[in-house]
Symmetry: C2
Subunit: 294 residues, 2 copies
Amino acid sequence: MSGPHFERVALIGIGLINSSLACVLRRDKTAGEIVACARRQETLDTATKLGLSDRTTLDPAAAVAGADLVVLGTPLSTYGGIAEVIAGALKPGAIVTDVGSVKQAVIRDVRPHMPAGVHFVAGHPVAGTEHSGPASGFAELFRDRWCILTPLPDTDQGALGKVTALWQSAGMKVLTMDAEHHDLVLAITSHLPHLIAYTIVGTATDLEDALKSEVIKFSAGGFRDFTRIAASDPVMWRDVFLNNREAVLEMLQRFSEDLTALQRAIRWGEGQKLEDLFTRTRAIRRSIIEAKQA
Amino acid sequence: MSGPHFERVALIGIGLINSSLACVLRRDKTAGEIVACARRQETLDTATKLGLSDRTTLDPAAAVAGADLVVLGTPLSTYGGIAEVIAGALKPGAIVTDVGSVKQAVIRDVRPHMPAGVHFVAGHPVAGTEHSGPASGFAELFRDRWCILTPLPDTDQGALGKVTALWQSAGMKVLTMDAEHHDLVLAITSHLPHLIAYTIVGTATDLEDALKSEVIKFSAGGFRDFTRIAASDPVMWRDVFLNNREAVLEMLQRFSEDLTALQRAIRWGEGQKLEDLFTRTRAIRRSIIEAKQA
């Protein structure tokens, strides 16, 4: 199939997602030129060495000049500042999109800075690993995963179509939904699991030293799956929690209530209650396997 | 290397662990005869079909008659009853061991029934998958994992040596520790992670139907790792929590306090606190990778 084409793509931030996207752009020859921008020269040097970009710059405004597609892929807390800095350099007709894990905050921070004639499409390719940085990228990261776009009523349909085609070319299934709904769904499927994993690994970190070394030794019993998740990028995740506060706290509240109920069942030896829950949760796993997301 | 040898091995229960052990025994020709015992004929038929046993029986006493090694691999709540039933049929000099995830309760339930001249060695091969039943077993399950034996001061050293050699032949690194200490270490490395995973998957199960189908769709963001753990055998895990109550509740208490602190940090926008924790947890992951348990 004939995919999308862009003369110049500016990747603002070249971490796991944008470097994986660069691999896709290279593979499919989707971009005439790729410009990578990062905060540190070292990161850009790695991107250059890996052939992820044709040109690099530390200046976001220089990166987006003349680009027909700009992809924001930095921690969420930087979006507002970057949007402000690039606003004056954006080419009329340029498409600006992003890969952030929260969407209401992105729309709040980026949209007010976008000049007339520039098309902003907020997006979230739901894919990842616990690794970060430009060297962790690979084109197959997106294969068969979902990409959620959260257009607004006034979003340009042509721009939406091009961003859709971009992620489809990466192998993703693309759908659109309301930004508020996105933030709620991701709070339970992604943000809360990360918060829980960070917490339990933190609890283990605080154990007495003798016990801690044994936790590492015997991690195969379940704990190590949490440590993988809890090895994710600290700054990215700090920003996710700060920018999706309400939805995360709402889901956390539900989780805490359920955990307290389970705690009580253990304390009072209510075996049937435990077995019932543990049986119900098996069904969700089966659904995920059937949905080919396992 | 020349491994251990047993004339007749009785496997009481033929789930994931005992069927995997049967694969090892078959591979290494460690057992002259393997007798499998289960509660349901259907399970035994599967074991026979898979060649896991030479003989099957629904009667634990018949299974252990003449056996020089008996391996208990049923849910913890059944141990006391089984120990009582098999006591009279055990051959003098026989070794009885187990694979249960809790050790103080096993010693409490099994030991009083063991006749003089029968050697009981409580053990726990720390390995597993989310699958259960005889068809889920495979010899490689144990490779490079730890096996913890919790002998008592009066445990027969010869029997301890043979059980050690058995698990070493399965590829495990074997060590001994105090049963109480085992239960505490496993509470944090295995029992609490399972409890948390069951809880969060349960929380998602209780969501409104529309939201629930989306949780399945977008599970790749972190949630699906929890569903894998929460697909583990419900009865086995019910019994783990009921039989390691104190240690699990102690670790759960620590976890809850840490989670509340994190919740507060999110509510009050304390970014530095979040970033600090998320950075510390990365170090544990590195230690696990270095310890080759990832």
